[in-house]
């Protein structure tokens, strides 16, 4: 079986958990002998993806094994990548690089595709345009939280995917189904599935509902999400929590949505930071984007009460986001700035050091489809306090859970977590046992079953 996957990012060049989840899932699927062609908007040359064909639109990266099987004549059909790396152009392209006019012409010959794009265009003032929102002062402010031209980028990505995949398919059936990760890839997924007449699985890792902290968010993004889950043959949600929101927000019948919890890889090397970082002060960690979705203000409010009882505690807010400045001001207003340390954006090894240094990890998300960081913390012997409004709460029994708005309870849990080493130790010990059950292989098996299900 050959799967065409569409994603937005791939490690090590990632902005969030999506790339990590895509890597974990595809590696485990490859072990179950599924062939995956994975398209991301851009490759940097240092991706480690020998288990599948990882490609940019236009370009296709050939795994080492496949390369050896090529004759020199075939190999000459590939052009070298600018960087001289292994990403190679797709062979047998009728037109390796279409310009926009070519693309427009192509679309004009495909009325069904045009309809899809029309639907996309109808969702807002213009699908390829920047989303803006007027504020009271008349200034123009971005609302989506993504780059200024996110919709243009999605449009370009969609166009390029169609350009590169459709001509290469020709008349033979190259792919059995399409698996699209998150809303950004849904337009491409929906268009391709229609064109190729194959099943589409849309995989929901997060929703606009989550990112806007349980509010309405961007109407246009919600529209694209709805398009993706409506046109999909089946939908994968990363948690029962997310499934219920998809059902509620987009009126998708529950039978159409399968829950596949993310897995996690334990990395053995992760402990060696502990000794050099553990200081005398107890450290309570918030790590993630400092945005409304992640509930940073609840963290600061809870900290205020903790400091009253444990004055020497140190709260670390690691990460950046549009609420960072507000949070810094809030710690001053509450008179607890001495107890706070803001790190800004952290690189991967710094994240690991931060987890190692922490005594407790707090994830007060207002709405969190999964929340894999709560599992990563366990690898560094740091127990997790997680909001009940998260998917990870479904799989991590050995954690402490709270409603994100319940600041009294959160501060109670933090205080008890700091006071009782026995509690921290047992939580980590038992959570490690739980993580053993939460493998990517389990997620891949469920996904594979779903593939056979939609193809039968």
């Amino acid at each position: 079986m050959r799967i065409l996957m569409l994603g937005w990012e791939y490690p090590p060049h990632i902005a969030g958990g999506l790339g990590i989840a895509c890597e974990g899932l595809t590696r485990a699927l490859a072990r179950q002998e599924l062939e995956i062609h994975f398209i991301v908007p851009q490759l940097f040359g240092d991706e480690d993806a020998e288990h599948m064909v990882l490609q940019e639109p236009h370009r296709r990266r050939v795994p080492a094994l496949a390369k050896q099987e090529l004759t020199s004549e075939e190999y000459s059909l590939f052009g070298e990548d600018e960087a001289g790396g292994s990403p190679l152009r797709i062979p047998a392209l009728l037109k390796p690089y279409w310009n926009e006019e070519d693309f427009e012409y192509y679309l004009s010959t495909r009325s069904d595709l045009k309809e899809t794009f029309q639907q996309l265009a109808d969702l807002g003032s213009g699908f390829f345009e920047e989303e803006t929102e007027s504020t009271e002062g008349g200034a123009v402010k971005k609302k989506s939280g993504y780059g200024p031209d996110i919709f243009q980028e999605i449009g370009r990505f969609t166009a390029r995917v169609l350009q590169s995949v459709l001509p290469s398919v020709g008349t033979t059936k190259e792919y059995d189904l399409i698996h699209a990760h998150d809303w950004i890839t849904f337009p491409a997924g929906v268009s391709l599935a229609r064109e190729l007449q194959i099943p589409l699985i849309t995989h929901v890792h997060s929703l606009e509902y989550d990112r806007s902290g349980g509010h309405h968010g961007s109407e246009r993004i919600r529209g694209i999400e709805r398009l993706g889950v409506t046109h999909a043959t089946k939908v994968i949600a990363v948690s029962h929590y997310t499934k219920s929101i998809i059902h509620r927000e987009h009126s998708i019948p529950k039978e159409k949505i399968a829950v596949v919890h993310n897995g996690i890889y334990s990395k053995e090397v992760r402990n060696h930071y502990s000794t050099q970082w553990k200081g005398k002060r107890k450290v309570v960690l918030f790590l993630g984007r400092i945005t409304i979705q992640k509930g940073p203000d609840y963290f600061v409010q809870a900290a205020k009460r903790v400091v009253e009882h444990i004055p020497e505690v140190l709260f670390v807010m690691a990460g950046t986001g549009d609420m960072l400045g507000k949070m810094i001001r809030l710690t001053h207003e509450l008179g607890i700035s001495e107890n706070f340390h803001f790190t800004g954006f952290l690189k991967e090894h710094e994240v690991e050091q931060m987890f190692s240094a922490a005594d407790l990890y707090v994830m007060p998300s207002v709405s969190e489809p999964f929340g894999i960081s709560a599992l990563e913390a366990i690898d560094f012997n740091t127990p997790s306090l997680i909001s009940k409004q998260s998917g990870v709460a479904e799989v991590l029994a050995h954690s402490l859970k709270f409603d994100f708005w319940d600041r009294d309870r959160l501060s109670d849990l933090i205080i008890n977590g700091l006071l009782h080493e026995e509690l921290r130790k047992d939580m980590v010990l038992m959570a490690r046992e739980e993580l053993k059950r939460l493998r990517w292989d389990t997620a891949a098996s469920k996904t594979r079953e779903l593939y056979y299900d939609v193809l039968s």
Partner: protein
């Protein structure tokens, strides 16, 4: 003439309420009055009242040949008095038939037998006094919390003058021996009645299990299993939680019909009868000494104490409650003594059990809290509040 010996455990703890670290009222109540009331009322309705009624009918019907025993904790009796007096009435009615024996145990269903000997003796005495007051009886056979037993506990109970003690027939303790004969404390005269866990658990755990090969279990079949012991058994000890009937095994499983027909099936074979623990101890000789070094219980696969003290949070909570209790004993405050004894009830530590695998699920079923960690946190918040009432510094804060 072999006997079937029924003993049913009746116990309800005072569950503590989700207690906040920030609770500032000095007179705050630690116990969840409304949960405890509603659970007592629910169990009374589903189990205590219908089962008592059924057993009373059976006792009358068999005119003294059907005999049973109970161990009812002091905290359960208190809650019956307070929330369901009709349940206490029906137990008193049963005891008046003369076919029902009551066993002695710790008033608070505590682990004092393991952690605090003077307290153990005191709680046994309190329970004995309560049985005297409510039922006019003095127990002659002892049952320790969760059937926790070893030689050291046996010696204490022997010294108190009991004839016999109830214990688990754990495989590693019995070795080649059979639980279907009486044994005695090495170097002593205290007799040991050992639970036949296979036959007991057929009723208590497997009865309603649709995946079990013997499902649905009929009373004829079960009686046949008992009768197989003929010639090779003097007593078959069927020990279980009373809540098995109607609460753990719902009415819909047919458990009441099973119980209704069991006595006639057992008695159908001429030489079998029913006897209470004291009658068993009087009638049958001990066939040998049974040394028990390790602490045993009737819980989990290993029949050990790890469900109550197997992890560090449980150890911490146990250590602190006995420290505080020691201080309260020194001051002799009766109200606080009652509180710190209620906090010693084993269930509080059971709720903190985090053992993984199959056993963990069983514990989750009986817990009123979201997680074992919540159980620990509420408990420690209560201890902290209690320490503040005593004017003791919260030592924990200094350790951080």
């Amino acid at each position: 003439m072999p006997s079937v010996c029924f003993y049913f455990q009746v116990h309800q703890p005072y569950r503590i309420r989700p207690f906040s670290f920030f609770e500032s009222s000095p007179s705050a109540d630690y116990f969840d009055e409304s949960a405890n009331r509603s659970i007592m009322k629910k169990v009374a309705e589903k189990c205590y009242l219908p089962t008592n009624q059924l057993l009373l009918e059976l006792i009358h019907r068999f005119e003294g040949r059907f005999r049973i025993s109970y161990s009812i904790t002091g905290v359960a009796l208190e809650q019956m008095q307070r929330y369901a007096p009709e349940v206490l009435d029906s137990f008193q009615q049963l005891v008046r038939t003369g076919c029902v024996e009551l066993l002695g145990e710790t008033y608070y269903h505590s682990l004092a037998g393991v952690y605090h000997r003077p307290e153990f003796l005191e709680q046994i005495k309190l329970h004995r006094d309560l049985l005297n007051e409510l039922f006019g009886v003095s127990p002659t056979v002892f049952r320790n919390t969760e059937l926790i037993y070893n030689d050291a506990i046996g010696e204490i109970i022997q010294d108190l003058g009991y004839k016999a003690i109830i214990a688990e027939g754990a495989d590693d303790i019995l070795d080649w021996r059979s639980p279907n004969f009486l044994h005695h404390l090495p170097g002593g005269s205290l007799k040991l009645l050992l639970k036949n866990y296979r036959l007991s658990d057929d009723i208590a755990f497997r009865f309603g299990d649709r995946g079990w090969k013997s499902y649905p279990l009929r009373s004829e079949t079960f009686a046949e299993w008992i009768h197989r012991g003929s010639g090779n058994a003097e007593v078959v000890n069927l020990f279980m939680d009373y809540e098995t009937f109607g609460e753990h095994q719902w009415d819909s499983t047919g458990i009441f019909d099973f119980l209704r027909h069991l006595p006639e099936q057992i008695l159908a074979k001429g030489d079998w009868d029913f006897a209470t623990p004291t009658e068993v101890a009087d009638r049958y000789p001990a066939r040998g000494a049974l040394p028990v070094e390790r602490l045993t219980s009737w819980a989990d696969e290993k029949r050990d104490l790890t469900a109550w003290n197997g992890n560090e949070i449980q150890e911490r909570a146990l250590r602190e409650v006995y420290e505080i209790h020691e201080e309260i004993l020194r001051r002799g405050d009766r109200e606080l003594l009652d509180i710190s004894r209620r906090l010693q009830t084993s269930d509080h530590f059971y709720y903190m059990c985090t053992k993984w695998a199959a056993d963990g699920d069983v514990h989750a079923y009986f817990s009123p809290y979201d997680s074992p960690y919540d159980a620990f946190i509420y408990y420690m918040n209560v201890l902290r509040h209690l320490r503040a009432r005593l004017g003791l510094q919260g030592e924990a804060e200094h350790h951080i």
